[in-house]
Each structure stands twice: as C-alpha cells, then as structure tokens.
Symmetry: C2
Subunit: 168 residues, 2 copies
C-alpha cells in the first residue's frame, strides 16, 4: 500500500477524536494486516473512490465502542440504542473526510458508511490490496483503524507526501 | 432512497450470478430495511461515491456463501479457505460495477470491497440514508442485497430512469 496515505489517517484519527469525542488517542506504529485480521465487535466501514480506491475500517470491542459513541453523542448510549450505529457511522465518516482533505492533488470522494455489529467478526479485503492497521489507545481501551488504498489514476499535480508524523 | 438506482442492481445481480456463478437468481420484491436489519454470517460491502454516495451489501448465511464462492471459484471453498474472502469481495465488486454502468448520466465510482465474516452480524447505515433490501433466491438458499444511494450532485444530462424490470 502507498504509505503516503497513512499519515493523513493518523492525523485525522487524532483530530476527530480530540474535537468530536473529547478523547486523546495515542496512535501506535502501523503494521501490515495478516489474514484473517483482528476480531472486533463493532466496525465502521467506509469506502473511497476516484483517483484512488480504498476502504477504511474503524474496529472496536463493544465496551470501547459504547464509550466512544457515548462521548461523541454526549449522552450514554449502548450498542442497542437507536443512535449507536449513527454515531459509529458518523465517526467513520469524519475520519475519512478529515483524512481525504490531505490526499493532496488527488480527486477522491467517500461513500456512505456501513456499521457492522456482531461479536468477534472480522473485516477483510482483497489480498491484492494490502491493508495497514493503525492501533489506537484511548483512556477507555484500544481500537484499530485499518486502511487499504490503491491508486487507480496518476494524480495531476500530485505533491510530495505530507510531512511524517511521529507515532508512539 | 431514489428508486431509480434499484433496477440496475436487480439486473446486475441476475447477470453476475448467471455468468460468473452459473446460478439462476430469483429476485424478490425490494422492501425498506428496518433496523437492525437482517442478520448474516458473511457480507460483502462496497461503497459508491461521486455524483451519488452509496453502499451495497451482499449478505449471506454461511452455507449459501460457501456454495456461491465455490461456484464462482470453480473449486470447493469454505469460509476458512484463503480464497473465500476474495471470492465474496470480487462478487460484490462485480455486482457494483455492473450496476454502475446503468446509472445513466452520473459520474459514480466504486470503492474497494470489504468482507465481513461473523455469525449473525448486522450491517446498517445512517438512518438519514434509508436502505432497500432485495431478497434473492438461489437453488442453494436465500441471500439479500441491501442498497443505499444518496444523490449528492445534480447529474448533468441525467436521462430517464432505466426501464422497469419485473421481480417475482
């Protein structure tokens, strides 16, 4: 995977969680995903298309997802609450949208989010399109963000990769 | 949801399953999805973006997914086989790509597919973007295709909706 796409996601996770969830996220070093991938209970999935095709998946254990969704919504909500999926979907949407603005020189748009709920599920992609996982630590537990991006067109005026950001 | 998008999916499901899975699919009448939606064991998820944002989810019970993936791959594969996710992801990709060609006058592209594996999971979207479910009957069992599409831009030169197709 083109690692230039990773820094925008690292910055987006930190920014969205800080401003919208009021939570500091300590982003760990990204690593390649090996099948079948991490098991999760709640995942927010959103696609990218245009000059690059891609996918980002925010994967949570139930307890972390409930605390994150509650902090985002401003009221306590659990996985059975009618606002729960909307909160996780909007969060995926915000992370994707925030990262996208840093895909410099590329015309990329984002799809509608989907929210998967089911204990111990996996979310994988095509083997031809490797994914990188970004482990994230919060005060209420860990979650993971998986990213796959595949450049489909040479981007006009594509600039240098964004400056590196440090991870723990 | 703009129902003009549904006929291209109905046609795409029939065409892709006939030519690539060598299976006749009897498409039932689409209906609105009410939360939390149908439980599935295997789902192929793919996003759309551009003049419209959207998402399509192919949701299978395990036994149906294994038979469909095996017929698609031409060799018996089950959900633990390394080619299983690729088969379900490629199938979602083909249904989305085949439907997209009939979104007349709209510039829409598709994301990378994701494949969810986990017994009894649900895949939902934002409540502001209603989904339609297309129930599908095959000789090896039933599966469901859920579609959400939201027009984000007035499409230049958009033509009349495609001709209606009849469903069982």
């Amino acid at each position: 995977m083109d690692v230039r796409f990773i820094n925008p996601f690292i910055l987006a996770i930190s920014a969205v969680f800080k401003t919208m969830v009021h939570m500091d996220v300590k982003v760990q070093k990204p690593h390649a995903v090996t099948d079948p991938g991490t098991r999760a209970d709640v995942s927010g999935v959103i696609g990218f298309s245009g000059d690059a095709s891609g996918c980002v998946v925010l994967s949570f254990p139930t307890a972390v997802a409930c605390q994150v969704a509650s902090a985002f919504a401003g009221v306590p909500i659990d996985e059975k609450h009618p606002d729960f999926s909307d909160a996780i979907g909007e969060l995926a949407n915000m992370v994707a949208g925030n990262a996208k603005k840093d895909f410099e020189g590329m015309n990329i748009s984002i799809s509608l989010p989907s929210v998967v709920i089911g204990r111990g599920h996996t979310v994988s992609g095509l083997r031809a399109c490797p994914r990188l996982a970004i482990p994230c630590e919060t005060p209420c537990g860990v979650f993971e963000v998986e990213v796959a991006m595949l450049v489909t067109k040479a981007a006009a005026g594509a600039s240098a990769p964004p400056a590196a950001v440090s991870v723990a």
